[in-house]
C-alpha cells in the first residue's frame, strides 16, 4: 500500500475503486488504522469500491503506519491536515465522506474546514463527548495509546501525550470536540448517522447533533453485531451516497 510524504508526516493510505471519491476514516479512536476495517461490522472498501473511489488512511500515530509529529496545538486539526493534504495530492476536489468512531468528530471538522468540498457525510457509530462518562477518552487513551505512541516514537514523552489528550478531549469537551452546536444547526451538508450506544460512542450526543442538523438522516438502531441488520443499514447508506454523488464535481 502506498505512502504519501507530506513534510514531516508520512501517510499510509489506500486508493481503490473508481467513481465519485469517498474518503473513509477508519475507527479505533487514536489507535485507529485501516486494519480495523476488517474487524468491524462491515468493510467500507469492500462494500463501496465497486461504485466509488475509496480513499482511506491510517490515522497519524495510531496503530497503523502513518507517522508524524504529535501537535497538541492542532490536535484534531493535524488529522484533518493529513486528510486534506492526501486528497490534494491525489487530485481530488469534491468528495463524499464516511467516518467511523473518531471519524464522527473528524467528519465535522472536515465539513467545517472544507465546506465546499464535502458533499455528504456518513457517521458510523460516531464518538463524541459523553456527559455521563466525561473522562472516557482520557481513561481509554492514557494507558493504551499513550504508552504505545511512546514505544513507537522515542521523541514523544508522557508530558506530550498528556498535553495532546487534554487538547483533544477537554479543549472543546462538551459536544463533538471539533465543532459547536451552532455550527451543526447551520450546516446544510447532508449527513447520515448510524448510531451506537457504548461509552465512547454516546447515543445521546449522536442523537442530539442528528436532530440539530438541518439535513440529516439516521439509520435503524440497533444494527451492530447482527449481520442481517447491518445489511438493512447498508442499503440506507448506499441510497444516501447515491443520492448525493451527483453533487461531487
Amino acid at each position: 500500500m502506498p505512502f504519501f510524504e507530506n513534510g514531516g508526516v508520512r501517510i499510509h493510505y489506500r486508493d481503490e475503486g473508481s467513481g465519485p471519491p469517498l474518503l473513509i476514516i477508519p475507527g479505533g479512536g487514536l489507535n485507529g488504522s485501516m486494519g480495523n476495517m476488517d474487524e468491524t461490522d462491515f468493510n467500507p472498501i469492500t462494500e463501496f469500491s465497486s461504485e466509488y473511489r475509496c480513499i482511506s488512511l491510517d490515522i497519524r500515530n495510531g496503530s497503523g503506519e502513518t507517522t508524524g509529529p504529535l501537535d497538541a496545538e492542532r490536535a484534531w486539526d493535524q488529522f484533518t491536515d493529513d486528510q486534506l493534504a492526501l486528497l490534494d495530492h491525489l487530485g481530488i476536489g469534491d468528495f463524499l465522506l464516511m467516518g467511523f468512531c473518531i471519524g464522527g468528530p473528524l467528519n465535522w471538522n472536515l465539513m467545517h474546514r472544507a465546506p465546499d468540498r464535502v458533499k455528504a457525510a456518513v457517521m458510523v457509530h460516531p464518538s463524541g463527548y459523553n456527559p455521563d462518562d466525561s473522562d472516557v477518552f482520557w481513561k481509554s487513551n492514557i494507558g493504551g495509546w499513550g504508552k504505545a505512541v511512546q514505544d513507537r516514537n522515542a521523541s514523544v514523552d508522557q508530558a506530550q501525550v498528556e498535553a495532546f489528550l487534554t487538547s483533544m478531549y477537554y479543549g472543546r469537551g462538551d459536544f463533538l470536540f471539533t465543532v459547536d452546536r451552532d455550527y451543526v444547526r447551520n450546516c446544510e451538508t447532508p449527513v447520515l448517522m448510524l448510531p451506537d450506544d457504548i461509552p465512547a460512542h454516546p447515543f445521546k450526543t449522536a442523537m442530539e447533533w442528528a436532530l440539530l442538523a438541518p439535513n440529516s438522516q439516521i439509520s435503524i438502531f440497533p444494527w451492530r453485531g447482527d449481520p442481517v441488520r447491518v445489511q438493512v443499514a447498508l442499503r440506507h447508506v448506499s441510497q444516501f451516497l447515491a443520492a448525493n454523488k451527483a453533487a461531487v464535481g
Binding site: R235, H236, Q239
Partner: protein, 248 residues
C-alpha cells in the same frame, strides 16, 4: 371528491400533486379511510409528499368510516381490495406506481407486490399491521367483537355468518405474519421496501422488522419515530430520500 365506479363497486378517492404516482393506503384496518390520514395518522402523506409526487388515496371498500361501497367478497377479501386499487389506477391511466401503506396498507402493499410485481416500483410500509405468533388472533377477536356487529347493523343483507367467514378469510392465512403473503414471497421479493415500524398489538414491531430483514432490498427507519416532531422529521427525510431514489 371524486368516485370511481366499477360495476357494483364505488370507490371514493382523492388526488393531489403531480409526478411519480404514489398509491396511499390509509390506516384504520377495515375502517381504513382517507379521514384517518387527516386525523389520527402520524403524518399526512397527502400533504407531505404532494409537493413532488402524484398522491392518490382512497377509502377502502366498505369502510364504516368512509364512502367506498361494494359487495363483501367473502372468499377473496384481500384480492377484492387489490382489484379496487389496481382498477382505480387503471382508471387514472397509471401503470407504474409506488405503494405506501399505513397499518392495513402493509398487508395490502404485499398483496399488490404479489399481484402486480411489474407495476409496484417500491413500497413504503408505515406502522404495518400483521399477526403475531401464538394462538391469539387480535384481528379476529377485535373485528368479531366490534366491526362485524356494527357492519351487520349498517348492511343487514350481509349475514353474520358471511361476515365471520369474511374475517376468517382475511386473518387466518399467514396469521403469524402479514396475512397476504408468506415468508418465501418476502424472501424473494426484489421490490425496494422501506419499513417504518410501530409497536402496538395490531402493528407488531417484531414482524415489521422480520420483513425488513427478510426482504432482500429492504430498509427500515429508526424506531421510535412518531414523536416528538423532530424525530418524525428525521424519519420523513429518510422516507423522502427513499421515494426519490425509486421514482424511476
Amino acid at each position: 371528491m371524486p368516485f370511481y365506479e366499477n360495476g357494483s363497486v364505488r370507490i371514493h378517492y382523492e388526488e393531489r400533486g403531480s409526478g411519480t404516482p404514489i398509491l396511499i393506503m390509509p390506516g384504520g384496518g377495515l375502517n381504513s379511510s382517507m379521514n384517518v390520514l387527516r386525523n389520527t395518522s402520524p403524518f399526512n402523506p397527502m400533504e407531505v409528499f404532494s409537493d413532488e409526487f402524484r398522491c392518490i388515496t382512497l377509502d377502502i371498500r366498505n369502510s364504516l368510516a368512509g364512502q367506498s361501497t361494494g359487495p363483501v367478497e367473502v372468499d377473496r377479501p384481500w384480492n377484492a381490495f387489490a382489484d379496487d386499487q389496481l382498477g382505480l389506477l387503471d382508471h387514472l391511466g397509471i401503470d407504474k406506481f409506488i405503494a405506501m401503506g399505513f397499518c392495513i396498507g402493509g398487508p395490502l402493499s404485499w398483496n399488490l407486490m404479489q399481484r402486480a410485481p411489474d407495476r409496484v416500483m417500491a413500497a413504503m410500509l408505515v406502522q404495518p399491521s400483521a399477526g403475531r405468533p401464538g394462538p391469539d388472533n387480535w384481528f379476529l377477536d377485535t373485528y368479531r367483537e366490534s366491526w362485524a356487529p356494527e357492519f351487520h347493523k349498517k348492511r343487514p343483507e350481509v349475514s353474520a355468518e358471511d361476515l365471520d367467514r369474511y374475517l376468517l378469510s382475511l386473518y387466518s392465512d399467514n396469521a403469524d405474519f402479514v396475512f397476504t403473503v408468506d415468508r418465501d414471497f418476502v424472501r424473494n421479493c426484489q421490490t425496494p421496501i422501506l419499513v417504518m415500524p410501530d409497536d402496538i398489538p395490531a402493528h407488531p414491531y417484531a414482524v415489521a422488522m422480520e420483513t425488513a430483514t427478510l426482504a432482500p432490498n429492504a430498509q427500515a427507519t429508526f424506531f421510535p419515530w412518531k414523536e416528538p416532531d423532530d424525530l418524525l422529521q428525521l424519519a420523513l427525510s429518510h422516507a423522502r430520500a427513499f421515494l426519490r431514489a425509486n421514482r424511476g
